[in-house]
C-alpha cells in the first residue's frame, strides 16, 4: 500500500468537487458569451474577458473591494490586538476559557443572521438612530445603512473573531517568564510590549491578518445585506454575472481576477512589511548585541535576550 493510501478518498473528493470545477471556471474565463441565450463558449480563446473585467465600470468595484479589504483588516487588527492582549495577559487565567467561549459565540452565529442584526441596528428608524438623535449627536435619522461605511462596520464585526483568536494564542504562548525577564532588565511596560511581546507574537499577527483579509476580499453576504448600490464588492459582481447576466465567461474572469488580486495584495503587503522592518531589525540587532554583557544577573534574563534576538534577526 502506498503511504498516502488513506488520503486517497479525500484527495479524490477534492479533485472532483474542487479542483475540476475551479479549473473549469479558469477555462471559461478565456471564452466569451455567445448571444443572449448562451452562457459561455470556448471556441475562440482570448484574454478579452479579463480586459472587460478591468473596464471602468467593474474596475471601480475592484478598487472598492480592495479599499474595504485593507481598511477592514487594519481596523480588525487595531481593535483586536488590545483585546487579545487583555485576554491572554491581563484577564485572570481562570476566566480565559469563558472569554474565548464568548468570542466564539458570534463566530458561530449564522453569518447572514448576525449581519441582519446590524441592518436592524443601523436602520434609519432603528433604536441607535433614535438614541443618537435624542443625545443630539446627529440632526436627522441615521444615514449609514446601504453605504460603504455600513459595509465596513459589517466586515469588521464579522471577521473580528478571526483576528482575536490567533492573536490570543500568540500572546498566550509568549508566556509570563519572558515578559518578567524583560522588566527585570529594566524595560518599562511599553518597551516590554513593543520590543519583546509584540515581536514574539508576530506569527499570530500574520495569521490573523491573513485569516481576516482573504475571506473578507471574497465576501458576498455583508455587502449584499448592508451595502446597497454604493457598497458593492467583487463577490456580488461575480454572483450577478452568473445569476442575472448569465455571462459565465465574464463572471469566471472576475472570479479569477479576484483570486489574483488577493494573492498580489498579500505578496505586496509582505514585501512592504519586510522593507519597513528592515531598519528596525538592524537597529534592534545593535541594541541586543550588548544585552548578554548587561544581563549577568540571571539565566532567565539572558535566555530572554537570546530568544528575542533569535526572533528579531
Amino acid at each position: 500500500m502506498p503511504r498516502f493510501a488513506l488520503a486517497i478518498p479525500a484527495w479524490a473528493w477534492l479533485a472532483i468537487f474542487f479542483v475540476a470545477p475551479v479549473a473549469m471556471v479558469v477555462w471559461f474565463s478565456f471564452g466569451y458569451k455567445p448571444g443572449i441565450f448562451g452562457t459561455h463558449a470556448n471556441d475562440v480563446l482570448s484574454f478579452d474577458r479579463y480586459l472587460e473585467a478591468l473596464s471602468p465600470t467593474f474596475f471601480s468595484t475592484f478598487l472598492n473591494t480592495l479599499w474595504i479589504g485593507l481598511a477592514g483588516t487594519a481596523l480588525c487588527l487595531l481593535i483586536g490586538l488590545p483585546v487579545a492582549y487583555w485576554m491572554a495577559v491581563k484577564a485572570p487565567p481562570s476566566r480565559r476559557g469563558l472569554l474565548i467561549a464568548l468570542v466564539l459565540v458570534p463566530f458561530w452565529t449564522n453569518f447572514l443572521v448576525r449581519t441582519i442584526g446590524w441592518q436592524v441596528i443601523l436602520a434609519p428608524e432603528g433604536w441607535l438612530s433614535t438614541l443618537l438623535q435624542d443625545v443630539g449627536l446627529i440632526g436627522g435619522p441615521l444615514d449609514i445603512l446601504y453605504t460603504r461605511s455600513a459595509v465596513l462596520i459589517g466586515v469588521v464585526y464579522n471577521y473580528l473573531p478571526l483576528m482575536i483568536l490567533p492573536l490570543f494564542v500568540a500572546f498566550d504562548r509568549v508566556g509570563t517568564p519572558v515578559r518578567e525577564a524583560s522588566k527585570d532588565l529594566g524595560a518599562g511596560r511599553w518597551r516590554t510590549f513593543l520590543r519583546v511581546t509584540l515581536p514574539l507574537a508576530r506569527p499570530g499577527v500574520i495569521a490573523g491578518v491573513l485569516l481576516v483579509f482573504i475571506p473578507l476580499m471574497g465576501d458576498y453576504i455583508t455587502a449584499t445585506v448592508l451595502g446597497g448600490a454604493k457598497g458593492n464588492m467583487v463577490g456580488q459582481l461575480v454572483a450577478s454575472q452568473f445569476q442575472a447576466a448569465q455571462n459565465w465567461a465574464l463572471g469566471s474572469a472576475m472570479a479569477v481576477m479576484l483570486i489574483l488580486v488577493i494573492m498580489v495584495t498579500v505578496a505586496v503587503g509582505a514585501l512592504v512589511v519586510w522593507l519597513v522592518m528592515l531598519p528596525i531589525r538592524s537597529r534592534n540587532r545593535l541594541v541586543l548585541g550588548d544585552a548578554p554583557a548587561a544581563a549577568t544577573g540571571g539565566d532567565r534574563a539572558s535566555e530572554a535576550a537570546r530568544e528575542s534576538e533569535e526572533v528579531l534577526s
Binding site: P9, P21, L112, G117, G218, V238
Partner: protein, 279 residues
C-alpha cells in the same frame, strides 16, 4: 497592587469590544419576541415568531433540509478528513507537502468562487454526463458543504496525532495486531476527540453555509440560510429572528459539546481555541 491606567484602559476596551461582538446577536434575540409584522419595527412582546415554525411548512422544510445536509456533510467530511489526517500524521512523506498545499488552496479560495464553480460543474455532471445523483438537492448541498469541512477535519486530526507518539501503534503491531486492527483499536481511539470535534465543527459550518448553498440548491430543497437570504429581498419578518435564535441555541449546545470533549481529552483553553478555528 494599584492598577495602572493602561490596565484599566485595556479592560474597558475589552468590555466595549465584547459588547460590540454581542450587539447584533442581542438585537436578533430581542427581535425574536417581536409580535409585529416586520423584523425592523418593534410592535410588542409575543411568541408569534416561534409559532410560525409550527405553522409554515416552508420554514419547517428549510430547517429540516439544513439539519439533514449538516448531518450528512459532517459524516462525509469526518470520514474523508479523518483518514487523510491519519495518513498525514502516520505515513508522512513528500506527498504530505502537496496534500497540505491542496487543503490550503481549498481553505483560502473565496466561497463565492467555489459557489460559481460548483454550479456549472454539477449541471455538467448531472445533465451532460447524466449522473442523476447530482440532480438531487441534498447531494448537491452535501458536496458544496463538505469541501471546506474536509480540510478542517484533516488539519485537526493531523494536529492531534502529530502531538502523540506513534509508539502505541508500534507496540500494537509488535503484539501481532493486523494493520486494520491497530487502526481500529489504537489509532482511531487516539484520534477520537479530534474526530468528534471535527464532526461537530463540520455540522455547524454546514448549518452556516449560505453562499455555496444559494448557488447549488435546487428548488424544493432550500436550506435555512438560503430561505433567510430570499426573505431579505421579500421583507424580513420576526419569525426569521425566532428560528435563528433556536438554531443559535442548537449550535451553542453542539459547540459546548466540542469544548467538553476537548477538555476531557486534556486540552487547555488555548488549544481549544486553536482547534475550534481550524488552525
Amino acid at each position: 497592587m494599584k492598577r495602572s491606567w493602561s490596565d484599566v484602559a485595556l479592560s474597558v476596551w475589552g468590555v466595549l469590544v465584547f459588547l460590540f461582538l454581542f450587539a447584533p446577536i442581542i438585537v436578533i434575540i430581542i427581535s425574536a419576541f417581536n409580535s409585529g409584522r416586520l423584523l425592523v419595527a418593534w410592535d410588542g412582546f409575543g411568541f408569534d415568531g416561534f409559532a410560525a415554525l409550527l405553522e409554515k411548512p416552508a420554514i419547517q422544510s428549510a430547517v429540516w433540509v439544513s439539519i439533514q445536509t449538516g448531518f450528512i456533510a459532517a459524516i462525509v467530511a469526518t470520514v474523508l478528513g479523518t483518514l487523510a489526517g491519519i495518513a498525514m500524521a502516520r505515513h508522512p512523506g513528500k506527498w504530505v507537502f502537496w496534500f497540505i498545499g491542496l487543503l490550503l488552496l481549498v481553505s483560502v479560495t473565496p466561497e463565492i468562487v467555489d459557489a460559481v464553480a460548483l454550479l456549472p460543474w454539477l449541471v455538467f455532471l448531472g445533465q451532460d454526463l447524466g449522473i442523476g445523483l447530482f440532480n438531487d438537492g441534498i447531494v448537491r448541498l452535501v458536496v458544496g458543504h463538505s469541501l471546506f469541512s474536509t480540510a478542517v477535519v484533516s488539519y485537526i486530526v493531523r494536529a492531534r496525532l502529530v502531538g502523540l507518539d506513534a509508539q502505541l501503534e508500534e507496540a500494537s503491531a509488535d503484539l501481532y495486531a493486523k494493520p486494520f486492527a491497530t487502526f481500529r483499536r489504537v489509532t482511531l481511539p487516539l484520534a477520537m476527540p479530534a474526530v468528534l470535534a471535527g464532526f461537530l465543527l463540520s455540522f455547524t459550518l454546514s448549518l452556516d453555509n449560505t453562499i455555496i448553498a444559494a448557488f447549488v440548491q435546487v428548488s424544493g430543497t432550500t436550506p435555512w440560510p438560503v430561505y433567510v437570504l430570499s426573505a431579505l429581498r421579500s421583507g424580513l419578518r420576526p419569525e426569521i429572528a425566532s428560528v435563528s435564535t433556536i438554531m443559535l441555541v442548537l449550535t451553542l449546545v453542539a459547540l459546548a459539546l466540542v469544548a467538553l470533549v476537548l477538555r476531557r481529552a486534556g486540552d487547555s483553553a488555548t488549544q481549544i481555541a486553536r482547534t475550534m478555528t481550524g488552525n
